[in-house]
Amino acid sequence: MSNKAKEIAINLKQDLLKKIDGNIKAKSNSEQAWLEKLRKDARAEFDLLGFPTVKLEAWRKTNLKSYLERKFDVNAIDKDLSSSEANTALMCEANKYDTDLYTQYNGHWMKGADGVTTYDNGTIVCPMSIAINIFSELVEPHFGKYAIDKGNALTALNTADFVEGYFVYVPDNVEHDRSLQMVNLIDSDNNIFANMRNLVVLGKNSKLRMLHCDDSVSENNCFINNITEISIADGAKLDLYKLQNKDNESVVITSTFVEQGADSNFASNTIILNGGLVKNDTKVLLNGRGANADVIGLYLMDGHQLVDNHVHITHAVSNCTSNQLFKGIVDEYAHSVFNGHTLVAKDAQQTLAFQNNNNIQLTKTSKIDTNPFLEIYADDVKCSHGATVGQLDTAAMFYIMQRGICERNAKMLLMLAFVGQVIDKIELPNLRASMTELVGKRLKGELSSCDQCSITCAEPDKPIHFEIDMSKV
């Protein structure tokens, strides 16, 4: 690396520390004491660790170096548009998924989402900046309790530096029937470097469905470090869909930390359509008997994109089940990394844990690294994992083409069939239809440059069209 680049990387850390120190000082009277302490400890940890390097197992194949050497403005968010201006900048005129939309634009909440929303059933949705003060008693018992990731500098950095994010609270026994859609849209020339922090708390036997969208519309350096902590109490159920459609210059790192109570359910489905560097860490702690976690995902990468999915599921107690399924198609110069880790603790008997990562590699210049790990300390378990890297089935290709379908469409059909397993698990019909279409477009190369937000271009009513009759295949 050039000396200049090195300097930028070092300066970035210093800039961040300076900013954190400034904020801690400025808020010394207004910040909640518990949060101030968390921030100070986290600042020290970040200072000690510095940004992660490839020497760390979790980052072995995901090198942040070249990204950190870019120019970022750690104060960009504060300089950006105020929320009222943002309103007009976003063209998202219609909500296609039949959800309640909460949009953050360059880190600022859009009008309507910038205050506290309280539903009749007691569900609360509100900006994190507000929640830590007015709902401190709801936030404090959970905040920082799940995002425990010793040695992960980015987690520490996030805790020390975050300004905004969302807080969602569903009280005990409430089944919230409207899906919540949390959009995080970046459209800025200011080389944003931002830490966002979210917290989702589900009371006992409650139910919630959420969409979390990371989007960007401009091709500028951008580094988003997003942490979501989720607590799912006994008997509760959370469906979390994550859609990521970022431009090729942006770095988005999302870490989701989940703790589950007895008989609770967590289903997450991550669909990554585009992004410069996308790293999704999902850490689930199954901490009550009978808990179940399904963590699935799909990634479609080309260009020089890098996607890294890291799933870590800990079976801490007996009789829990988990299921990991990630599928990806990797084209051109793209690089995909999958790190699956299932840990079955001693005494976590009667565990069922499955893990699968399937990849289709389309070019010699693309790279696929997959590490499906099992770490097992209990004997009465059924655990399996599998990983494959391959191509489209040539026999199937031949069969389809023999029926008069051109090679391009034959490929498309098989790729859609390959990803179908993940898309079919989307329970929201509109979202499923829209994803099917988006994935189709993405595979045809129509989305790869992504000059639009995927959320606005989706037209769920329009069925997907091919020049072939799919019923005949």
């Binding site: 590699q361 693309s366 099992l374 097992i376 300390y377 378990v381 399996s384 599998g386 990983a387 890297v389």
Partner: protein
């Protein structure tokens, strides 16, 4: 059912190591500790040429700059290298001319180990090179091999007789700088076996090396080098045992294999170093670097290992598939019991086109042991149409052991197919009930099921080795199968 099973497991896991005797052979050593002087002394004792001393010294200096790797899923108590004797040899009275002249105590040792050199020679037609502590004590069958042009002798002897071959191939697959233990071995290796199969020759007998650590406080650092020239074939067997001692003894070996065009080497190991006692005291630290280079097209290297011994095993027999159409195979059964720890697996590096590799790994954990599979399948951009299939199964006997799987798959080619499968399970109650219903005792049932589970790997072993391995599996888990 759980309770009775625990009792069974306990019974099965409480068997004793059958090879724990020591032999009263007079040996000479050079005292404890490691330094540049020690390296020079070893080299001088072996009357080595200057270039080999240089090789050792370079390795030693490199080693000084390295750190013991800590990435494996192992807890290793610190090794004090100044407490180890780096060279120990049975004292020779004079050059041995025939078996009759071998120290009777030594012959007795081999008899106890079940490898009567004499008997082996006559009955099974296996050529044996026996390495005790650090030095090769006897190679059998040399005349038959000589007729075919096969070179099979101790490493030290080969250094004197075939320096050009040694110089050409030694370190070409495992360079001294490869890893911490490879560097250490390269600096202080004492002996080992060398084998060269000339063009077009299929070895008429199986070649075998038997390793035994006898002396106390001694490390064993042997090197094996096998070169199969164009179209050659050899099946090579390696066995190891050690006496029961309270301290941990270090075994850091290197095995290098090179196969040229159309050549094939089949390397089988039954590793039964002393595993330590029931409380985890003593046992061998088995840190071995085994690697084969499929240099020529259509060449093949096949590793088969049955690992039942050692307190700690750190070993990843690997294949570099450089030649087009070359084939790499790895078949492994690793059993850990009591406090044993194993971190073992394979690396398959696909470089040539149309290369193929297979990994079949069966881990069996009992007692308080930990058994990890760790493997890498790497496909480089030029390795068109390469294929890998890996299957890594773990079987848990008892609720206090661990079974872990850490596969790494890195691919950079669009025509490659890599498949990895793994399962972890215990012996099902249904299987146990079924066997018992047919009149089998729980111990027998488990023995049978475990052997069935490992069969795919055991089938890869040469006949006479397979029987031994099967017995060993049963013994290792005797009173442990649950």
């Amino acid at each position: 059912m759980a309770k009775s099973e625990d009792i069974i497991i306990d019974e099965v896991t409480s068997s004793d190591y059958k090879y724990g005797f020591t032999t009263d052979i007079e040996s000479e050593d050079i005292g404890k500790g490691l330094s540049e002087d020690v390296v020079r002394i070893i080299s001088a004792k072996k009357n080595e040429p200057e270039w080999l001393l240089e090789f050792r010294l370079k390795a030693y200096r490199k080693w000084l700059t390295m750190e013991q790797p800590d990435w494996a899923h192992l807890k290793i108590s610190p090794i004090d290298f100044q407490e180890i004797i780096f060279y120990s040899a049975p004292k020779k009275k004079k050059e041995l001319e025939s078996l009759d002249e071998v120290d009777p105590e030594l012959l007795d040792t081999f008899n106890k180990l079940g490898i009567s050199l004499e008997e082996q020679k006559v009955l099974s037609g296996v050529a044996v090179d026996a390495v005790i502590d650090s030095v090769s004590v006897k190679t059998t069958f040399t005349d038959v091999l000589e007729k075919k042009g096969i070179i099979f002798m101790s490493f030290s002897e080969a250094v004197q007789k075939y320096p050009d071959l040694i110089k050409k191939y030694m370190g070409s697959v495992v360079p001294p700088s490869d890893n911490y233990f490879a560097a250490l071995n390269s600096a202080v290796f004492s002996d080992g076996s060398f084998c060269y199969i000339p063009k077009g020759v299929r070895s008429p007998v199986e070649l075998s090396t038997y390793f035994r650590i006898n002396a106390a406080n001694t490390g064993q650092f042997e090197r094996t080098l096998i070169v199969a020239d164009e179209g050659a074939y050899v099946s090579y067997l390696e066995g190891c045992t050690a006496p029961q001692r309270d301290e941990n003894q270090l075994h850091a070996a290197i095995v290098e294999i090179v196969t040229h065009d159309n050549a094939e080497v089949k390397y089988s190991t039954v590793q039964n170093w002393y595993p330590g006692d029931k409380n985890g005291v003593g046992g061998i630290f088995n840190f071995v670097t085994k690697r084969g280079l499929c240099k020529g097209h259509h060449s093949k290297i096949s590793w088969t290992q049955v690992e039942t011994g050692s307190a700690v095993t750190w070993k990843y027999p690997s294949c570099i598939l450089k030649g087009d159409h070359s084939v790499g195979e790895f078949y492994s059964v690793a059993v850990t019991n009591n406090y044993q720890q194993a971190d073992t697996g394979s690396k398959m590096i696909h470089i040539g086109k149309n290369t193929k590799s297979t990994i079949i790994s069966k881990g069996i954990s009992a007692g308080k042991s930990h058994n990890s599979y760790r493997g890498l399948v790497k496909v480089s951009a030029n390795a068109d149409n390469s294929r890998n299939f890996s299957q890594c199964d773990s079987l848990l006997l008892g609720s206090e052991c661990g079974a872990h799987t850490f596969p790494y798959i890195d691919t950079a080619n669009e025509t490659t197919v890599v498949e990895h499968e793994a399962t972890t399970s215990k012996i099902s109650d249904e299987q146990l009930f079924y066997c018992q219903q047919r009149g089998l005792s729980p111990e027998k049932s488990i023995g049978l099921i475990v052997n069935g589970y490992a069969k795919e790997v055991l089938n890869q072993l040469p006949m006479e080795f397979a029987a031994e391995a099967q017995k060993l599996l049963a013994i290792s888990l005797e009173n442990s199968v649950g």
